[in-house]
């Protein structure tokens, strides 16, 4: 928590400086965490048993070529200089070449990220739309069987392997019932028609005004994002329940009840209203986790996103691509994490 001043200071200047402090702190902590992330990926890059020089020149190169490349990569410099060069490279978007695709890693990342973003965004929408009401209902019925069912459903979200659920989902809803389309983002005869604007197929199809493609892309998207959404739902419902229970035990709720406010209004207007800010942090956190969790889902659904790119690179020992994808996911994770934390501080008057 940021500085909790016991005396409420109402002067505009003080409030302004408080907010600047929050923002400054946010920037500083985010930058430090990012540097930590880079230190870890740098360290991983160092402990890989693959010789980076041999990876470029091949094992038949002469000693002179080897030495020249060794120097060119800066491997003769002290570790701290190498780290500095590494940070500079990453900040200027130079992640090196991917050995498996033959393109610069940063281009690959830009090409694969929108698919992941699309899936995670749909997933979080599903998770919030179902999870928040579930949490509120569980809190309103605390201790009853409804609460228990929601609690077990939530714990299932912590206990079911995502990739397994993807496989079972495909077997049931695609092969068995035929309700949704199969793996991939789009049917093969629609592939490549839509001009790429955002990289998210559903959005691009709408921009293009092609309803058929939109519906097809949507039917491919719905199952993987619903499964992703289930995992965020578990956390969101659990936290919503706990926030609601806090509110429902407050005196103002008792006052409202004594005044004869209907139970429905007590729950949804009085108790739910103040927890919206707390929920922002929770939703932000789950969104970040979803971006990460999409890795396993993408593999099962052959979804052409970062997760698929990362694992393909992993299996072919393409370290530039692995570390590039790790940095990208890590950065998005950190930024979402820190932003929701800061939003909470700025929006919630109690934390000022």
């Amino acid at each position: 928590m940021s500085a909790l001043s016991p005396v409420p200071d109402r002067s505009l200047a003080a409030r302004f400086s408080d907010r600047t402090g929050t923002v400054l702190r946010f920037v500083l902590v985010t930058a430090m965490t990012f540097l930590g992330l880079l230190a870890i990926t740098f360290f991983i890059g160092r402990i890989v048993p693959i010789d980076p020089v041999v990876a470029i020149v091949g094992d038949r190169a002469s000693q002179e070529v080897y030495d020249a490349t060794f120097r060119q990569l800066g491997l003769d410099k002290p570790l701290i200089t190498q780290f500095y060069l590494y940070v500079r490279d990453v900040l200027t978007g130079n992640f090196g070449m991917s050995l498996s695709t033959g393109r610069p890693v940063v281009e690959d990342l830009a090409r694969f990220f929108p698919a992941t973003f699309e899936m995670a965004t749909f997933g979080i929408i599903i998770g919030v739309v179902l999870g928040v009401p579930m949490g509120v209902i569980a809190a309103a019925n605390a201790g009853t069987w409804i609460d228990q069912v929601i609690r077990v459903l939530g714990l299932l979200g912590y206990s079911v392997p995502a990739f397994w659920m993807g496989l079972v989902g495909l077997a049931v809803f695609y092969a068995g019932l035929g309700w949704v389309a199969g793996p991939g983002r789009i049917d093969i005869f629609y592939d490549g028609i839509t001009p790429v604007v955002t990289g998210m197929l559903t959005v691009d199809a709408l921009l293009d005004g092609d309803v058929d493609i939109f519906l097809n892309a949507l039917s491919h998207l719905i199952l993987p994002s619903a499964i992703l959404g289930f995992f965020s739902l578990a956390y969101i419902a659990r936290m919503t329940r706990s926030f609601m229970l806090d509110q429902l035990s407050q005196e103002y709720v008792i006052t409202a009840r004594v005044k004869g406010v209907s139970e429905r209004a007590v729950i949804w207007k009085h108790a739910f209203y103040p927890i919206r800010v707390q929920l922002i942090t929770v939703i932000g956190l789950s969104y970040a986790v979803l971006l990460e969790g999409s890795v396993m889902i993408e593999i099962v659904f052959s979804w052409p996103g970062i997760g698929n790119y990362l694992t393909t690179a992993l299996l072919s020992a393409d370290m530039n691509a692995v570390l590039g994808a790790t940095i990208l996911i890590g950065t998005v994770f950190i930024v979402i994490n820190r932003t929701s934390d800061m939003l909470y501080r700025v929006l919630d008057p109690r934390s000022r």
Binding site: L37, S159, P161, A162, Y235, R238, R241, S249
Partner: protein, 323 residues
């Protein structure tokens, strides 16, 4: 909710006193309000904890599942009807039947036997990860909390960096660097698991850093090492145990994910995630190959979740509902 629980607890205490009359001397000795010795006090406390734990059906179910996992893992060779690696190509991809309760896989191996042997790998992973990451986290947290100042700031900055990184991705990257295999998977998961314990240990340490018993030992001239090791760490144990139990499900899922990607335990080891990955090609026609190991993962993870929730309710009511 809180009020409700309190009344429940009060009612239970009254019931206990009434029951104690029927249960004889041992129960009376255990529930004595003024214990005569340290042993009696500790036994009484353990008794009270066990009683309130036993009242929670989900917690008991969790304890049962975890106990079952341990028993199955220990006695796998005697429990499994077939060999986990014995191939029988005539019997490949057979559906569940009286002979093969959960069917057979693409090499004719009995899936039930493989799941039973896989319990050993799962247990090995969770125990090793806990044994590596919990002491590291505890030590870092306790040192940070005890010394405070710049030691605290540096250690917690490192902890926070690790905490704010995506766990699965970091484990993937570490395995990529270290090479695939069970041992490296355990190391990679342990590297991502310790920061949570450091946070807990620090928070716990801060609550009693300024308390009188610490000051008393300091005055007696105890070394920092002794204070942390003998007086600080034991007090952090209960909240760490709760957290470790709650984290187990996540650890099992990460390990299964690494196995599914072919980065964890290598074939022919019957690791559950790797088994699902092999069944992936047959999911539409021979669904049992991929689904059965998944149920094993779900049951065990749920068991740890229930157990962890139950332990938290009993040992540490303050932390209830948060994660």
């Amino acid at each position: 909710m809180v009020d409700l629980r309190n009344t429940e607890a009060d009612a239970a205490t009254e019931g206990d006193t009434r029951k104690a009359g029927r249960m004889g001397a041992l129960a009376l000795w255990l529930t004595d309000d003024a214990p005569a010795s340290r042993v009696q006090a500790q036994a009484g406390q353990a008794y009270a904890i066990a009683r309130s734990f036993a009242r929670n059906p989900l917690a008991m179910l969790g304890a049962f599942i975890v106990g079952l996992l341990i028993v199955v893992a220990l006695f796998a060779p005697w429990l499994a009807p077939y060999s986990p690696v014995g191939q029988n190509l005539e019997m490949r991809l057979m559906p569940p039947s009286a002979e093969h309760w959960l069917g057979t896989d693409e090499l004719g191996r009995d899936i039930l036997s493989r799941i039973i042997h896989g319990a050993r790998i799962t247990l090995l992973i969770v125990v090793m990860v806990a044994l590596i990451s919990a002491p590291i986290g505890l030590l870092i947290g306790a040192v940070a909390g005890y010394f405070g100042g710049w030691v605290d700031r540096i250690l917690m900055a490192i902890t926070d960096v690790f905490l704010s990184l995506p766990k699965l991705i970091m484990a993937l990257a570490f395995v990529a660097a270290l090479g695939a295999g069970l041992q490296n998977a355990i190391i990679a998961i342990a590297i991502t698991a310790w920061p949570a314990y450091a946070r807990i240990a620090r928070a716990e340490t801060l609550t009693f850093r300024k308390s009188e018993f610490i000051a008393a030992v300091e005055l007696q001239g105890a070394s920092n090492l002794r204070i942390i090791g003998i007086h600080v760490l034991p007090l952090c144990m209960s909240s760490t145990i709760i957290r470790v139990t709650l984290d187990m499900a996540g650890i099992i899922l990460t390990a299964a994910g690494l196995g599914f990607l072919g980065l964890g335990a290598q074939p022919p080891l019957p690791e559950w995630g790797a088994m699902i990955s092999r069944g992936r090609s047959f999911i539409l026609d021979q669904w049992w190959v991929a689904t059965m190991p998944g149920f094993a993962i779900i049951i065990v993870s749920l068991g740890f979740c229930f157990l962890g929730d139950g332990l938290r309710d009993v040992l540490d009511p303050r932390q209830r509902d948060g994660r």
